[in-house]
Symmetry: C2
């Protein structure tokens, strides 16, 4: 399972009740942050997941509202007694931007590692390892190189009792094989493929901001359990304005959600001129029904389709 | 009169209910800000004095908690349709720090001007013009070059009826002379010195953070109507810790207030480890009675001693 929370949902400038757009997710106690604008660390304090266990911070791009909080966040991570390296991921130029911003955070008690992902129209980074997370990155279309990200939790196949019996695997190593992938019993070695069915649908979280619609975006977000997407403006009548600023209206985000057959859409990155985004949700829902407007610290735990039943079943095998 | 507000009162990191230490003051509709850490602009939104009319931002030093909010603030000032130059004042190196931080705020619709003040032990900058404000700067003793600031409103002498009569100034130019400094009547020229007494006590606001006590500090803050001073820790038992980190305890700030014969002390820049600074106010009050612990957006309007009576009297002369 993957815990997800929006740390902020605003674009351009932090507002008293709407911090800048950022997301955090938690997997097995480790954290991954996407974007870190001014005040993101305040929202993290309110959320209470801590600073110490951040494996990586991924940056979509280098507009201030997505990275201005980095120096303060690096220092706060430092104050959490962290010593492990911290990975920063982003478009080309990230190293130089971080070097500049660290003029006010030169000394940290842990190393900072930089991973710049090549940026090219249509070039999707399918699988990138970021600490305990398997992420993907997708080039977007904004006023500067910009990436959308996804976090993927792969899932092994289901335990196949018939297969296990057909392969003559003793009952007492079933559970161990499923958990560890290999086991020995009475001098014979057994492997997971002797008991497991084919891999199942992974868990998938996608996050896209800031961008105009691009043709490869539905493919990138396809089948996501949760798709967090920018909607700078709600009303379709702001389409021209959105296009001019290289952003989207709710309806455009909803089309990507629909075409990508995601399970749920959360809109974010709202213009400061739109104090109540919920007023415009129908512009999204008429295209993709399961749309919601995000708010700061909106949370959800994503689970595999039959995760709870399987855990219960596994307990009974033990 | 001078309106004063604390934008934040925290040290090290912004907290949900305590933003980073910063002050704003307003004089004749113009604004001056001292320090701008992460989230300072959020507090400015809550205060509601606007962004457009800032004449200058003075920086005490370049630790992140005092300047990390600059890129975002510069952009928000830009979004207020400002075109006039903005002055940034601070210790040597300010230009380079600003240049680095502007990697994420390269384009602004107004020019940014830099004023680096020479920093030398005991060297006080008595009078520096910062837009509509007359400021002074005092070297402090921190882990890097750091300035305390004061804002001074000079005040002309009182209208002296006896003197006006003795100089044969006609009654009908009295008010004009006081307001504009010169007047003509029936072909004769009159000047302010013919009707005004000697200059009176100025209005004075002093602000000192981050520092250990220095011998010239009471002189710098002498006679302030309001002295805003760091008190990283409340309890005297934290003195060693404070000294180690080049900060002060409440009692040390109170000694400066007492020795400088200020009118009122507001403590600020509290450690994140001190959630309720008010619990420790007696450590200051036993040394300087008129001490208060600051809180975000604590406000006061400083007025000249008999400002209101004088305004009323002047109206009656008109």
């Amino acid at each position: 399972m993957l815990d997800v929370a929006l740390l902020g949902t605003g674009g351009m400038m932090p507002l008293p009740n709407r911090f800048l757009t950022s997301l955090i997710c938690r997997l097995n106690g480790r954290l991954l942050v996407i974007d870190s604008g001014e005040s993101t660390q305040v929202s993290m304090k309110l959320l209470g997941w801590g600073f110490k266990d951040i494996d990586a911070i991924c940056f979509t791009h280098f507009h201030a509202d997505h990275i201005s909080g980095l120096p303060g966040l690096l220092l706060s991570i430092g104050n959490s007694c962290r010593e492990e390296p911290l990975l920063l991921v982003g478009p080309p130029g990230l190293g130089e931007v971080v070097r500049c911003l660290r003029v006010i955070a030169p000394e940290l008690p842990y190393p900072v590692e930089i991973m710049e992902l090549p940026y090219k129209k249509g070039l999707i980074h399918e699988e990138v390892r970021a600490g305990g997370f398997l992420i993907g990155a997708c080039p977007l279309d904004h006023r500067m190189p910009c990436f959308g990200y996804r976090v993927v939790l792969k899932r092994a196949g289901k335990f196949d009792v018939e297969k296990a019996r057909a392969n003559g695997v003793p009952l007492k190593v079933w559970s161990r094989l499923q958990k560890t992938g290999a086991a020995e019993c009475d001098g014979a070695a057994y492997t997971a493929d002797m008991v497991m069915g084919p891999p199942r649908k992974p868990l998938k979280l996608a996050y896209c901001t800031d961008t105009r619609p691009v043709p490869w975006l539905p493919g990138f977000v396809r089948g996501s359990d949760l798709f967090v997407c920018e909607g700078m403006y709600g009303d379709d009548s702001f389409l021209e304005n959105a296009a001019d600023k290289m952003h989207m209206v709710f309806g455009e985000a909803a089309k990507i959600a629909r075409d990508g057959e995601v399970n749920e859409l959360w809109l974010t990155h709202f213009s400061p001129a739109m104090p109540d985004p919920g007023n415009f949700i129908d512009f999204a829902r008429r295209i993709f029904k399961n749309s919601r407007t995000g708010y700061d610290r909106m949370q959800k735990t994503l689970r595999f389709e039959d995760e709870e039943e399987e855990e219960a079943a596994l307990e009974s095998v033990d």
